[in-house]
Amino acid sequence: MRTGAEIEVLLRELAPQVLGALVRRSGDFEGSEDAVQEALLAAAGHWPREGLPDNPRGWLIQTATRKMTDRIRSEIARRRREEVAARQEPPSTDVPDSDDTLLLLFLCCHPALTPASAIALTLRAVGGLTTAEIANAFLVPETTMAQRISRGKQRITASGIPFRRPTGDEWTERLRSVLHVLYLIFNEGYASSIGDHLHRTELSAEAIRLTRAVHAMLPDDGEVGGLLALMLLTDARRPARTGPHGELIPLAEQDRTLWNRQLIVEGQRVVLDAVAHGSVGAYQLQAGIAAVHDDADRVEDTDWAQILTLYGLLERMSDNPMVTLNRAVAAAMVHGPATGLTMLDSLDATLAGHYRLDAVRAHLFDMAGDTESALTHYRSAANRTTSVPEQQYLAAQVARLSALDGVSQPE
């Protein structure tokens, strides 16, 4: 007899496969999704008591199809269109199932959806999280999250996106969209893994689980491997990222013995393997940078020259000013703070008023020994950040420099 927890894991793995099978057959995403939710509930009720059926996936597909048929029958007078679907046989249970999970992911992350809708829909339809769990993770009421999911489903139905593997140029664009949504989910969990919202770290775990699944299905895609490696290498540092009171500890000051060695080893293996698959992509480069950081047992052992090279490659590939900001930090570590400060001047227009520009400038002035300028920019950054842990960190820098130097600055 399986335990409830084992059954839950199995159900979450099967849910997207079952949903994919139903959508493939009926073309009705909304109806299929509702039916699969009911079938999952039924399984969660029956299986722990009665044991697993011989073919759990087949059981779920049969049950969901029956639920869907029941529902359609009751609406038949009103919605004649769906009468056709009601007569359909249950879809065959022996088509390759991982394909359906992938196609479902492509559907939920379609570029026609807003990121918020795509994230919510992916977590619900592919990740198998309940609406309440997703709402809780994003700190919004359940009704609001339910609307976000429902809008996403309507959008998919309205735009008539076909449930098939995209081809040619479309493949690249659609896959990029899938990876971006997975990246956003990871980031939401990782960024908020400090302070009061610890429960949201589940989002990172979920993003890693889904990316692993995509990686298993598309092992030859270098960017899928790049993204998975980036997540693993970043997540490995999580235990060192916060102090005992939930305060933010920057990379340079982390206790590296707390890093998760197992994740680092796996991430490094995945990124090496990804690079071996040809064309270099942005996720691979970011994973490469994370790998170099993770490779240094002490902060002073960091190979900044290599990081600088990688940021240079990344900068050529994206017009994100944050990349330039990070490259300036790497340049300062290799060539000294003056070089980094000069590079920051090019960002005054694109990042005007952004606290991170001030924070980096403060850090580099601090490195250069210009305490007065460092204080000015740390203050400015502390006043503009929208994050409490970051504000505390920046305020601590102001306090440290003021005490160190005895410099008093006007507020």
Partner: protein
């Protein structure tokens, strides 16, 4: 997605400086319906976290405490009543631009004879998670 608090104070706007207590019942009703419709629209868009109106300045209280004796409680209304908070909306949106758009919609709530009040709406971002260190 960032969250924003849209705050509205008692001060009137360019379109109306008469307190709601002096409006006709029809105008009050139209105003309330506007607020309800806006909330329904924001829920349907998956953006509303919370929206509340606050009880008036007459029942407002201010509390100060030095941590030792008894807390000092002052009853409202206060001389600077117009600076008091009248209500708020908390929204979870894609961007600051979208929050400003909702604030603009809020500011155009109808006053007497359906004329937009043009309340100033204060837009404040809620502190959230820090950016990820790449």
């Amino acid at each position: 997605m960032p969250k924003f608090m849209l705050l509205q104070h008692y001060e009137g706007g360019a379109g109306c400086d008469v307190p709601m207590t002096e409006w006709t019942p029809e105008d009050v009703q139209a105003h309330i319906r506007f607020q309800q419709d806006l909330n329904a629209e924001l829920i349907a868009k998956g953006e509303l976290v919370d929206a509340q109106g606050l009880a008036g300045p007459d029942v407002a209280k201010r509390v100060t405490f030095d941590g030792k004796g008894a807390p000092v409680v002052t009853d409202g209304p206060f001389p600077e009543s117009k600076e008091l908070l009248a209500g708020y909306r908390l929204v979870d949106v894609e961007s600051e631009e979208r929050a400003l758009e909702i604030a603009a919609q809020t500011s155009a709530a109808p006053g007497p004879d359906g004329v937009p009040i043009q309340h100033p709406i204060e837009v404040r971002q809620v502190m959230g998670a820090p950016d990820t260190d790449l």
